[in-house]
């Protein structure tokens, strides 16, 4: 086991990693920007080093200063957390060159998964279902038309250079294809100066389902029961749960098999997450693989009793994975609410000083946070104030528990998403488990009127 680990992150995830290290008997080095000198991750680490000004480019993304900090403190490994340098292959690479273990997969693996087209390609070759569509730019209307017929409507035509909905058309029937194709092409041409378009199957109300995995460097791996992260706004997850209300044991095993194939194909080591789209007929398709610990990892910990961060560190230190797949048992139901310092209506970030902070407690309640009364949410970083996680025997009980916990949670001085979380947990469709990735947009739209 390592004697000392440097945590190349801040906020709740840095504190989470410090807690894991403490329990493993590993010393910790916190790094921090000048804005974070009073942060809990700094106060609870064994050592700390200021590595730059508030601007993350000059501090938490400042590779030379972070490596120097590891060198002057004698840290043997670096845990990158999530965000910042967590999926930066170059950072993983220079860590290894400097003789410091990067707690995560190999740099090659990070690179590969960072290139979405390459990742998709590898998955397809290894039997992981990918979203059906064209391989690159369509040569013309005919190719698109034939392909659409083959994969079935609805389909979506997208500009290769695109973004923000421009040069994009959803086509529901054959009769509309031609017009949509030309509209997308000409819009793409005028908007991006590149009229190349490609085609993909379009999903109506899909769910975001992801599979957490752990793999050691001896070829052993396990997968976890799925997380349903469909409650999101502009790809920012707000509420996550495990298991998904629509996944049964059979589908769970299939997802696990696909995740296993993805891990094997990429020679993945350490903790990772394979993300899938699940359509209304319960077909699933690979989206991408996240090569790091995720914000929502606690719900997987709650339903399995496995500490993912401790396992990450053990794996990185060269220990073989001690948990067998048969020991990964789904126990109960867990939800996570990401409480952000944001307006619950406009989602405008609301940094500032927390003037009152009282967390819920009691059975089945977990709070991961680096906030305290008097602490400041700086404007420079993400707006996560606390993760509120509940665990109970059934989904209904977990919902009741979350409602109670939300009512107990007091954060004053800044606006937070707590009021929105309360409303989501009162929503009949949410309570019934009937939702997709479009839920939150509709929900917010409806609540305006």
């Amino acid at each position: 086991m390592f004697r000392k680990i440097l945590i190349a992150n801040r906020g709740e995830i840095a504190f989470r990693i410090i807690r894991a290290c403490r329990e493993l008997g590993v010393k910790t080095v916190a790094i921090h920007s000048e804005a974070d000198a009073d942060s809990l991750h700094v106060r609870f680490a064994d050592e700390s080093v200021c590595i730059g000004p508030a601007d993350p480019a000059q501090s938490y993304r400042n590779i030379p200063n972070i490596l120097s900090a590891a060198e002057i403190t004698g840290a043997e490994a670096v845990h990158p957390g999530y965000g910042f340098l967590a999926e930066n292959a170059h950072f993983a690479d220079v860590c290894e060159s400097a003789g410091i273990k990067f707690i995560g997969p190999l740099p090659e693996c990070i690179s590969m998964m960072g290139d979405k087209a390459k990742a998709r390609d590898i998955m397809a070759k290894n039997g992981v279902p990918i979203i059906p569509g064209s391989e690159g730019i369509l040569s013309g209307e005919n190719e698109g038309f034939e392909l659409a017929r083959k994969i079935g409507y609805p389909v979506i035509i997208k500009a290769v250079a695109g973004g923000g909905g421009r040069g994009m058309r959803v086509v529901h029937e054959e009769t509309g294809f031609s017009a949509a194709f030309h509209a997308a092409q000409s819009e793409a041409g005028s908007a991006f100066g590149n009229d190349g378009v490609y085609l993909e199957k379009f999903f109506i109300e899909p769910r975001h389902i992801e599979i957490q995995i752990l793999a050691d460097d001896k070829g052993k791996m396990i997968y976890f029961p799925e997380r349903d992260c469909s409650i999101q706004r502009r790809h920012q997850k707000l509420v996550e749960e495990s298991p998904s209300p629509v996944v049964d044991d059979r589908l769970r095993r299939e997802l696990g098999k696909a995740a296993t194939a993805a891990v094997t194909a990429s020679r993945y080591v350490n903790a990772g997450t394979v993300e899938f789209l699940l359509d209304r007929d319960h077909n699933f398709y690979f989206i991408e693989m996240n090569t790091r610990i995720q914000v929502e990892h606690p719900i997987s910990e709650c339903v399995t009793g496995i500490d993912l961060v401790k396992e990450q560190i053990k794996i990185a230190s060269g220990k073989p994975l001690s948990i067998k797949q048969s020991q990964v048992k789904l126990n109960g139901h867990s939800f996570e609410c990401r409480v952000n310092a944001e307006s619950p209506v406009t989602f405008r970030p609301c940094p500032g000083k927390i003037t009152a902070f009282h967390v819920p407690g009691g059975p089945g309640i977990r709070v991961d946070s680096a906030s305290y009364m008097g602490s400041v949410i700086p404007p420079h970083y993400d707006s996560l104030v606390a993760k509120l996680i509940v665990h109970d025997q059934t989904r209904d009980e977990a919902i009741a528990k979350m409602k109670g916990a939300l009512s107990e949670f007091v954060i004053e001085g800044i606006e937070t998403t707590l009021p929105l979380h309360k409303r989501i947990f009162e929503d009949p469709s949410f309570i019934k488990g009937r939702f997709s990735t479009t839920f939150l947009d509709h929900f917010l739209e409806n609540s305006k009127t």
């Binding site: 106060r43 680490a45 064994d46 050592e47 080093v49 200021c50 120097s68």
Partner: protein, 148 residues
């Protein structure tokens, strides 16, 4: 306690610029608070411990900042502080030396690279804040310079 006593306390408050007085006679509890004082100390601060050299140094550096007469040269990077370019050469500067803006005054080694640190002001070196070979954080004071 009569009103007269109370009035005396209030004038005391004003004179001493106190924002708060709390007394208790038998258990002998007293609490005075300065208007300028930081409101309510947040406890978790007391709980953590930081034991690095680097940290202690930065605290020292913070106190130096109070010394407003002197200009501080701080480390722009994290690394190891050296007074000389190599063990066999003389230190760049000595206490009391006059330095020019742009003059190399020390080295901070980071990732096996020797980074020359220049003075950003003309003046006289009045203090070396860090020992030769010590680790330095970003923003940590290296020298105090009396501006010319």
């Amino acid at each position: 306690m009569d009103l007269k006593e109370l009035k005396e306390l209030i004038s005391l408050m004003d004179d001493a610029k106190l924002s708060e007085i709390e007394l208790e006679e038998d258990g002998r509890r007293i609490r005075l608070k300065k208007a300028s004082a930081e409101p309510i100390v947040i406890a978790p601060i007391a709980a953590g411990q930081n034991e690095t050299v680097a940290n202690t140094a930065s605290q020292a550096a913070a106190s130096e900042k109070n010394n407003a007469l002197h200009h501080q040269v701080t480390s722009p990077i994290v690394g190891t502080f050296y007074t000389a370019a190599s063990p066999n050469t003389d230190p760049y500067i000595a206490l009391g030396d006059l330095v020019k803006k742009g003059q190399v005054i020390c080295i901070v080694e980071a990732m096996k690279l020797m980074n020359e640190i220049e003075s950003d002001i003309d003046g006289r070196i009045v203090k070396t804040c860090v020992e030769d070979g010590a680790a330095v954080e970003y923003g940590e004071a290296l020298f105090l310079i009396e501006p010319a």
